[in-house]
C-alpha cells in the first residue's frame, strides 16, 4: 500500500504501519458454524488505541482498488494478457506450440505443458514475459500475434463503463429506500449477466485476432464481512476500551457505511465493436423496461 499509493492521488493511503504493529495483541474471539456457536479461538487483535489507524487502513486500501488495482488501463492490459496466455496454453495443449512464436523449452511453453510443476511456476517472472513479447509478436497464431503487438505498442483497447451507464439508466442511486435498492441491484445483476453473455458471444463470432470485445466484471468490498469460505480469523478485530472485542465493521460507522465497489466494463478494439456494445446495452435495457 505504501508503494502503490504513489503517483495516484492517494498519498493519504500511507497507513501508520508502525502504530498498527505496536498495538497488536493476542485475544480470544467467538467462533461458530452458521447459527451454531462452537467456542473460542485465539487470534491477533488490535488494541483500542489503533481504532482510527485500523479505520484508515481499511478505507485507504479500498480506495486503491478503483484508482490502481482495478484501473481501466491496467485491467485492459490484463485482459489482453489473459486472452494471449489462454491461447498459448491452448496451442501447447493441442500440440501446436510452434505457432506460439516461442522456442521449444521456453519457460512459458514449459509452464503451459505442465502447470502443476512448481519448478515451472517458479521459472516465470516479469523478465521472462517482457523477453518473450517480441517473439510472441511474431507468432503465426493471429490471436497471440495481435495481443502481443497491442501490448508491446501500448495500443490497449478502449474502455466502455457499462455499469455506470446501467446505474444511470435504471436509477439505482443512494436516494432510494433499502428495499428499492435491493430490487435495483437484482435488476443490475440480471442485466449484467444478460449483456455479458451477448457481448462474449458477439466477440467470439466476430474476432480473428484480438477479441474485439473483452468483458470485465469485478467487485471489491471495502472490508470483507465474515465469509463462510474464510472464517472469523480473516476479520480485523479490535479490543475496545470497555474490554469487548469486536469485528471492526461492527464498531466503525465509517467502515459500515462504505458500499462495495463494483465494475462491469467492456474493452473494445474498434468503433464497430463499441457501437455493438452500445446496441446490446440498449436492447437489454429495452427488454427490462418491457
Amino acid at each position: 500500500m505504501q508503494r502503490d499509493r504513489l503517483m495516484t492521488g492517494l498519498q493519504n493511503s500511507g497507513i501508520d504501519f508502525t502504530w498498527l504493529m505496536a498495538n497488536l495483541e493476542i485475544g480470544k474471539i467467538k467462533t461458530g458454524v452458521d447459527q451454531e456457536e462452537v467456542g473460542e479461538v485465539e487470534t491477533f487483535i488490535l488494541g483500542p488505541k489503533a481504532y482510527y489507524a485500523a479505520e484508515t487502513y481499511v478505507l485507504s486500501l479500498f480506495q486503491l482498488y478503483p484508482t490502481v488495482y482495478l484501473h481501466k488501463t491496467t485491467r485492459a492490459a490484463e485482459k489482453l494478457f489473459s486472452a494471449m496466455f489462454l491461447q498459448i496454453v491452448k496451442l501447447v495443449r493441442d500440440g501446436s506450440k510452434e505457432r506460439t512464436g516461442l522456442q521449444h523449452g521456453h519457460p512459458l511453453i514449459r509452464f503451459a505443458s505442465d502447470p502443476e510443476s512448481l519448478e515451472h511456476v517458479l521459472s516465470l517472472d516479469d523478465a521472462v514475459f517482457w523477453g518473450a513479447l517480441g517473439m510472441l509478436a511474431g507468432a503465426k497464431d493471429k490471436v497471440i500475434q495481435a495481443c502481443a503487438t497491442h501490448l508491446r505498442d501500448r495500443k490497449l483497447p478502449k474502455c466502455v463503463d457499462i455499469r455506470h451507464d446501467l446505474v444511470a439508466a435504471i436509477g439505482a442511486n443512494r436516494s432510494l429506500s433499502p428495499e428499492q435498492r435491493e430490487q435495483k441491484n437484482k435488476q443490475l445483476e440480471r442485466l449484467t449477466g444478460a449483456i455479458e453473455k451477448r457481448l462474449q458471444s458477439w466477440a467470439e463470432n466476430n474476432s480473428t485476432g484480438v477479441p474485439r470485445i473483452l468483458t470485465d466484471r469485478a467487485s471489491r468490498d471495502p472490508y470483507k464481512r465474515f465469509e463462510e469460505s474464510k472464517g472469523p480469523l480473516n476479520q480485523i478485530h479490535i479490543h475496545l476500551a470497555d474490554k469487548q472485542i469486536s469485528d471492526v465493521a461492527e464498531c466503525s460507522p465509517v467502515i459500515a457505511a462504505i458500499e462495495t465497489f463494483e465494475l462491469f466494463r467492456a474493452y473494445v478494439t474498434d468503433s464497430e465493436a463499441k457501437t455493438q456494445v452500445e446496441k446490446i446495452v440498449h436492447d437489454e435495457l429495452g427488454k427490462q423496461h418491457g
Binding site: 474471539i29 467467538k30 467462533t31 461458530g32 458454524v33 452458521d34 447459527q35 451454531e36 456457536e37 462452537v38 467456542g39 473460542e40 479461538v41 441491484n185 437484482k186 445483476e189 440480471r190 449477466g193 464481512r225 465474515f226 463462510e228 469460505s229 474464510k230 472464517g231 472469523p232 480469523l233 480473516n234 469485528d247 461492527e250
Partner: protein, 172 residues
C-alpha cells in the same frame, strides 16, 4: 457432448430438494458437496477452505439464483458475532420423492457443525487420500471436533451411507 456448467437453476434446485428451506451457507455448501460425492450433484467443483469443502461456483450461482428470484435469502446475525443465511426455495417441490430429495433432506437435517465435520472427513478421504480422515479432521478443526460432535458426525454420515445412491459414499 460438452457438459454445461451448473448455474443458478442448479443452485436453486439444491434448496428445493433439501425440503425448500436451508439454514446456513455452510450447510448449503456441505449438502451440495455430499450430493456430488453420492453422484446426485449438478457438477459443482469444490476445494478445501476454512469450513471444509467449498465451491466458489456454487456461491456465485446462489447469488444469481437470489437475483433471479429462484430463491429468497434472509441474512441474520448470530449470537457469536457472525452472520448466517436462510434460503427459501421459490419453486414448487418435485412431485415425487426420489433418491436426490431423500439424500438432500437427510443431509440438511444434520447439525451444521456435524455436517461440516462429516463433509470434511469425506473430502480428506476422497481428494487427499487420507488414511484416517476422522483423525485428520480432528487435527484440522480442534475447536469443533469434540468427541461428542465427532460421534454425531460419524452417525450422520453412516445414515447417509445407508441411502440408495448412484455412487456409494466412501467408507471413512
Amino acid at each position: 457432448m460438452v457438459r454445461q456448467e451448473p448455474g443458478r437453476q442448479q443452485a436453486a434446485d439444491i434448496v428445493r430438494d433439501a425440503g425448500g428451506r436451508l439454514v446456513g451457507r455452510t450447510k448449503l455448501q456441505k449438502v451440495a458437496y455430499l450430493l456430488e460425492l453420492a453422484g446426485l450433484g449438478a457438477g459443482f467443483q469444490f476445494e478445501y477452505r476454512h469450513y471444509g469443502p467449498y465451491s466458489e461456483d456454487l456461491a456465485d450461482a446462489m447469488q444469481m439464483a437470489v437475483a433471479f428470484d429462484l430463491v429468497s435469502e434472509e441474512e441474520r446475525m448470530t449470537d457469536w458475532g457472525g452472520t448466517y443465511s436462510i434460503y427459501m426455495s421459490l419453486s414448487p417441490p418435485k412431485s415425487q420423492r426420489d433418491q436426490r430429495t431423500a439424500f438432500a433432506q437427510l443431509a440438511a437435517e444434520v447439525g451444521a457443525v456435524e455436517l461440516e465435520l462429516a463433509a470434511t472427513a469425506a473430502y480428506l478421504k476422497t481428494i487427499e487420500g487420507s488414511r484416517d480422515p476422522w483423525e485428520d479432521t480432528k487435527r484440522l478443526k480442534p475447536e469443533k471436533a469434540t468427541s461428542l460432535r465427532l460421534s454425531a458426525a460419524k452417525r450422520a454420515y453412516k445414515n447417509l451411507q445407508r441411502l440408495p445412491v448412484p455412487k456409494k459414499l466412501p467408507n471413512l
